[in-house]
């Protein structure tokens, strides 16, 4: 059986402060894994350690402790790099090149045998159809993000690592990005998706990991995270009228049901209440800003 596309065990990363006399922990003993074909949301306030973790995953930073493996291998190994696509936060590529030149050079560097038509198709897919021969010097932040996505998709990666990929995009472009990510999952890719935009994570992710001050504070399936065990919603009907709702605490649930039945009402459903991801986030991070 193949190992997890991504496994992070007790990852710790400290940075020395000036003069090396003291250090601070940017990431403190976090562990999680990403399964095949899964979209994992990676959340946390600014400075929580998200980008540091991603850099450790990509082999750009050396962990102070703990271990990161991709398919059981070292992040910087060639076998790993062949199988991943990376969309960085605020990419700033060499702006003297055009998107098509980038596609050609990256495909050559990755030893991919790609036709020009295939490259143009990928550029078309990310919305750069008419811009393939324009130097990216004149591109907006959002368009550079599209170049970045095109380069990441080039090798049909088995794992997409995305660091704030939709920052700077307008709502329509965000929707396009979401569709592409879902289509990639459909193809069989796993996606590691770091974002500030909780609504997006809520829409596309299967699971989420929330960091705060370098530590993992929450991890789980979104359904489980958003469902609250301490509040329930009872839907009941009074004779032939429209159904009515009642929200009660878990402790008083049975008493409320008994009372309603005692009054002759019929109980239609009893379900746990769902919180928004934002509420989950705020309670997990102690109300820290996003």
């Amino acid at each position: 059986m193949e190992k997890f596309p991504l496994q992070v065990n007790e990852l710790e990363k400290s940075f020395r402060k000036k003069l090396g006399l003291s250090s601070f922990k940017a990431v403190d003993s976090i562990s999680f894994q990403l399964s095949h074909g899964e979209i994992l949301g990676f959340l946390g306030p600014n400075g929580a350690g998200k980008t540091t973790t991603i850099k450790c995953i990509l082999g750009l930073l050396k962990p102070s402790n703990g271990k990161v493996t991709l398919w059981g291998l070292h992040p910087a190994s060639l076998q790993v790099r062949k199988r991943i696509g990376y969309v960085p936060e605020n990419p700033d590529y060499d702006d003297t090149f055009t998107p098509l030149e980038f596609m050609q050079m990256f495909s050559s560097m990755r030893r991919l045998d790609m036709s020009r038509e295939r490259m143009l198709a990928i550029l078309d897919r990310v919305g750069l159809a008419k811009w393939e021969n324009v130097r990216i010097r004149s591109f907006s932040k959002g368009m550079r993000q599209r170049v970045s996505l095109a380069l990441a998709l080039q090798s049909e990666p088995e794992l997409l690592i995305m660091d704030e990929p939709t920052v700077g995009l307008d709502p329509a472009a965000r929707k396009e990005f979401r569709d592409i990510i879902l289509a990639e999952r459909q193809r069989g890719a796993s996606v590691f998706f770091s974002s500030h935009l909780l609504s997006e994570v809520e829409t596309i992710c299967d699971r989420a990991v929330i960091l705060s001050k370098g530590k993992k504070v929450v991890e789980g399936r979104l359904d489980d995270l958003m469902r609250t065990e301490d509040h329930y919603r009872i839907i009941y009907r009074v004779s032939d009228d429209e159904p009515e709702e009642l929200e009660v605490e878990a402790a008083g649930l049975q008493k409320s049901i008994d009372d309603l039945r005692g009054q002759g009402y019929s109980i239609i459903s009893v379900n746990p209440l769902y919180r928004s991801l934002e509420e989950v986030f705020l309670s997990a991070t102690g109300g820290g800003g996003i």
Partner: protein
């Protein structure tokens, strides 16, 4: 830390191996240094007494590359800066021109050392490449 140790060891090896024996003045055999003429004209050996003061030739004092002794040619004194100096053919030792022949191209006795140092440097480069690659893989 380990890398620093590797670099230090490499530096020590380099220092032990690539000695400063390129300093030709220090390591040149006596026959290379020879006996340079001094500026006093009366110490010069003139082969041709008919030559004027500014136009005489000297025996090549060493058999260095390119320093083959040739017949001198007439030189217009007026073109020479400080025209009371005398001139020798190119490639021959002259008054105060030791520096010219104390360059590596003219000192064949250090060429073997250049080859030795080149090989040592290549081996060191390979060792450093291997060690740093090994460290990165196994970190």
């Amino acid at each position: 830390m380990k890398l620093t140790v590797v670099i230090l060891i490499s530096a020590v090896l380099l220092s032990l191996a690539c000695k400063a024996d390129y300093d030709i003045e220090e390591v040149a055999p006596p026959e290379h240094l020879g006996t340079d003429h001094h500026d006093e004209l009366d110490e010069c050996e003139h082969e041709d007494a008919e030559h004027v003061e500014s136009d005489h030739e000297h025996e090549a004092e060493t058999a260095e590359p390119g320093s083959v002794h040739e017949e001198s040619h007439e030189i217009d004194v007026s073109e020479i800066s400080g025209s009371n100096r005398h001139v020798h053919d190119a490639g021959q030792r002259n008054h105060g021109t030791g520096w010219f022949f104390n360059q590596p191209w003219a000192a064949s006795f250090i060429w073997g050392k250049m080859l030795r140092d080149s090989l040592i440097l290549l081996v060191l480069a390979a060792v450093i490449l291997f060690v740093s690659g090994y460290r990165r893989k196994h970190q």
